[in-house]
Symmetry: C2
Subunit: 200 residues, 2 copies
DNA sequence: CTAAACTCCAACTGTTCAGTTGGAAATGAA
DNA sequence: TTCATTTCCAACTGAACAGTTGGAGTTTAG
């Protein structure tokens, strides 16, 4: 058969995103990845080495896509509500990543963090941007930037990471829609950072 | 040997909390639960029926403990910052529950929610309490109570549900401690709900 | 054209796994 | 005391699993 090594690898990676997002690194099954990809499972060991290494490759690939899709710019920290809205949009249209990160969160605490140095640098940049916005008066100075940024991440991602809680909590709110969630998110982030239109 | 059926069952449940918190419903191993409990694994099938039913029993038991430890009172909605602090304290001292709920969140979306009616009623009460506080002027009226309550849950639990993100984001904040997290949490919740001391 | 290297496959290995079975030991009722 | 019931156990069953092997087929270099 005609070879297309890169295509085979990508097919496996794409299939692995689906399998790991659904079942996590321990529950995923190598034969299902191979079946979904239409590729022999021996190829997984040839290209990736092991099941856990495949999971790492999947996380690296998907994190790179997020960084590309929602890049950090200095102006974003000046409008964290809008930034939160963009991150929300990304996860709404592409739910696999937060599931993968949730599985990552639940791994053995001793597990090495995937792409840690790149991700830590990325987050350091974001926290620094928030800190700079605090100095410019666009964001309240209390609490520290890292705490503020954490809270923004928390309320942005929660809708996707706790679906069972969301369904129970929002059951009595008939006007609940993704758009209203997004609007409340942006409003609440604005309030957290002290944006002027939220002062009552 | 002297029989103590209830003790055997509780030993298995306690061992299962540890195993499911660490590995989740798919990654957990029945033989490890039995070994940790010091009980034959056949007893698991006798008392609980199956691995998944054991997971459900574990979640039910741990959720009942939370409801008992951090009960809802009407006064709590008048001070959501304090309430958030109490929930934070519970999870800080007892991290298994949020791990179990995180595994629950990642189960197949078609999976029946454990103790759904009780939990939904519990959350409905909480949202109603927030709504009442809004009417009394103790909490801002925008966005709707369910959105506010969701945001409070989000920033309270995030410290425990995203440890890898926390470690990267907080790496550049040397003054980061559980106490400072708690203090920032209460401050941010106060700001979200429009508590008077946060207006700038 | 040939041989080396590479990609890919079906079948395999050794182990693990959830769940079950047949029976031992303890308890309780008659 | 005896028998029925219950609790508990070691070993088992059937299937699943991650990872490996031997070799077929294709590509590339000489």
């Amino acid at each position: 058969m005609a070879w297309d090594t890169e295509r085979t690898r990508q097919l496996l990676l794409d299939a692995a995103v689906i399998e790991f997002a659904a079942h996590g690194p321990e529950g995923a099954r190598i034969n299902r990845v191979a079946a979904t990809a239409g590729v022999n499972k021996e190829r997984i060991y040839q290209y990736f080495g092991s099941k856990q290494k495949l999971f790492v490759a999947v996380l690296e690939a998907e994190l790179a896509k997020l960084a590309e899709a929602v890049p950090l710019t200095p102006t974003q920290a000046m409008d964290l509500g809008d930034y939160a809205g963009q991150v929300y949009d990304y996860h709404l249209s592409y739910p696999h990543l937060l599931r993968l990160m949730s599985w990552e969160a639940l791994q053995d605490p001793g597990t090495e963090i995937v792409a840690e140095s790149e991700r830590a640098a990325h987050y350091a940049d974001k926290v620094a941007a928030v800190s700079a916005a605090q100095k410019q008066g666009a964001v309240v100075v209390d609490p520290a930037a890292a705490y503020l940024f954490s809270a923004v991440m928390a309320i942005t991602t929660w809708w996707f990471t706790s679906p069972q809680l969301v369904s129970m909590i929002m059951a009595g709110t008939p006007e609940d829609t993704p758009a209203n969630r997004r609007a409340s998110l942006m409003q609440l982030v604005g309030r957290l950072v002290g944006a002027s239109n939220t002062v009552r």
